[in-house]
Symmetry: C4
């Protein structure tokens, strides 16, 4: 159940972005993020709910974004996402059933039926969308991570309190 | 009332932009603005209605945009927006009730019920939208600031005159 | 009438682009164009219909685009667009009534009722849209210039012929 | 017929992108791709269906994208696309009727009625769309190439198998 969630895990491409890759003459060089997702990070910190980012890609753009948002736990360039998650859960001494996962495509497919709660953006790939526990109203790159966090906090009855803390911070 | 407004105040991210942050290998490095908002600046100048920009972020991209549009009063990297606004109003010897404010998200929340007139873009965050005095037809980054200025000038009966000045300038 | 048009004139911002200005730490530094408009340029060349670009802005990005598309006649950084157009018409020995103009906002307003045919993108500013001779189906930055050229060539009965020339070129 | 297809051929601009060209002060310098299309490449490799990219443009951005996706066969800066395709088919000892082609505009027009199967994105140019064998649901730049590959693999009865290989890879 959502209210038992103890860890928020999220993919990057197609979730924090709309899947766009901007290339210039030096190669793959730009990513577009959205400031709305920074509220998701702020909220989870205010209620002490840890975040883990797992991405198949590894690049400076994602690292910069993680640094800016002061996210400490992120694993980039991961080929086996499930293994990374299992290891992280062992470290935190929590069960996979206590994990909420936000992913959008076939490289997140192995997480389905493994984590406690699988969430996807509104424009996720069909085969993922069909099996997700919840389909968000927001597409990737427009604040899907924020809606994901709000959704979990709301189930835990912590959302209004978190925003009150945010406003009076 | 709108026709008593003596100062236009605006947030940047999510208002002058759609909330996008473009990262390259050097970090947070690009912002996308829209030329439509430059008409808002031009109109307010033609009728001598002062502008104040307040943003929680501080970066070269916003400074460049302010310089290009010849906006002199802007405060960046602000954590307590309300305090900055109160100080500015004291300097201009106007009351908070004579301020129209354009904001889109929870970091603008404390302005609600404080300023005379709170306006938000069509895609503002729900908790802000629910309390705003007016919801614009334009989303952030597509000319919301222009619509905001036109709205106030229209209430003051100055809009047609301002455009006539613009055309014959 | 459209079939008498001897010169195609176009604005840039909001017409060849969606009005976006991308700023990086060095200031105003990017513009997004669309390859669809390159077909408009190709078509007008194939039927020997001259093009003139007039923009209030002057920057390297527009110059680069003009060079890439081999457009020779462009005037950038223009404050009085009508004067520039009148001079150009005198040089070509044509009348303003033989000019088709594509513009989207109040800095194009003075062209209305002056040129033979005023056209605007589907997302042009309302006061311009209300007075335009034709509103295109395409918004700025998504091929509005191409639709503009096709519209004129179609009225002249030259469109199919131009595409046949293009295909067999 | 689709199930006889032995080669997948694709244009780039307007297909892998939405037709956008980003210019900075150094000229034409950015292209926006979408990670969804990388799944199309992965799927075709898993079932050993070869890919050929043919583009009228030649630039570093496309070369970088090809390198990242490990696509070996691409011809850039091509003026006569049909000739290039005929030569490639001769090399592979396959017939044009065994080629599926994905294109969106008039520079792909000569492929119509020549290749076995002509496919276009949902936002392709009208004269191309009217003659295409299949119009995809996806517009250019949002995963059209992926839908193209899935469509062919589905006709061949290979799609589910390819995704199973992908997941268990």
């Amino acid at each position: 159940m959502e209210k038992n969630i103890k860890l928020l895990v999220s993919d990057i491409d197609g979730v924090w972005t709309d899947g766009s890759y901007y290339y210039n003459t030096n190669g793959d060089s730009f990513r577009k993020f959205n400031t709305k997702d920074s509220f998701g990070v702020a909220l989870s910190k205010l209620v002490n709910l840890p975040i883990l980012i797992i991405s198949g890609e590894d690049n400076e753009m994602v690292r910069s974004r993680m640094t800016k948002l002061k996210i400490e736990n992120y694993k980039l360039g991961v080929s086996n996402k499930l293994k990374v998650l299992i290891d992280h859960c062992a470290k935190l001494k929590i069960d996979l059933s206590e994990v909420a996962y936000l992913g959008d495509d076939m490289n997140d497919y192995n997480m389905l039926n493994k984590v406690g709660f699988f969430v996807c953006p509104s424009d996720a790939y069909l085969r993922v969308k069909n099996k997700a526990d919840i389909i968000l109203e927001t597409p990737g790159g427009q604040g899907a991570f924020r809606e994901f966090v709000e959704n979990i906090l709301n189930s835990k009855g912590l959302l209004d309190q978190a925003y009150e803390l945010y406003i009076n911070n």
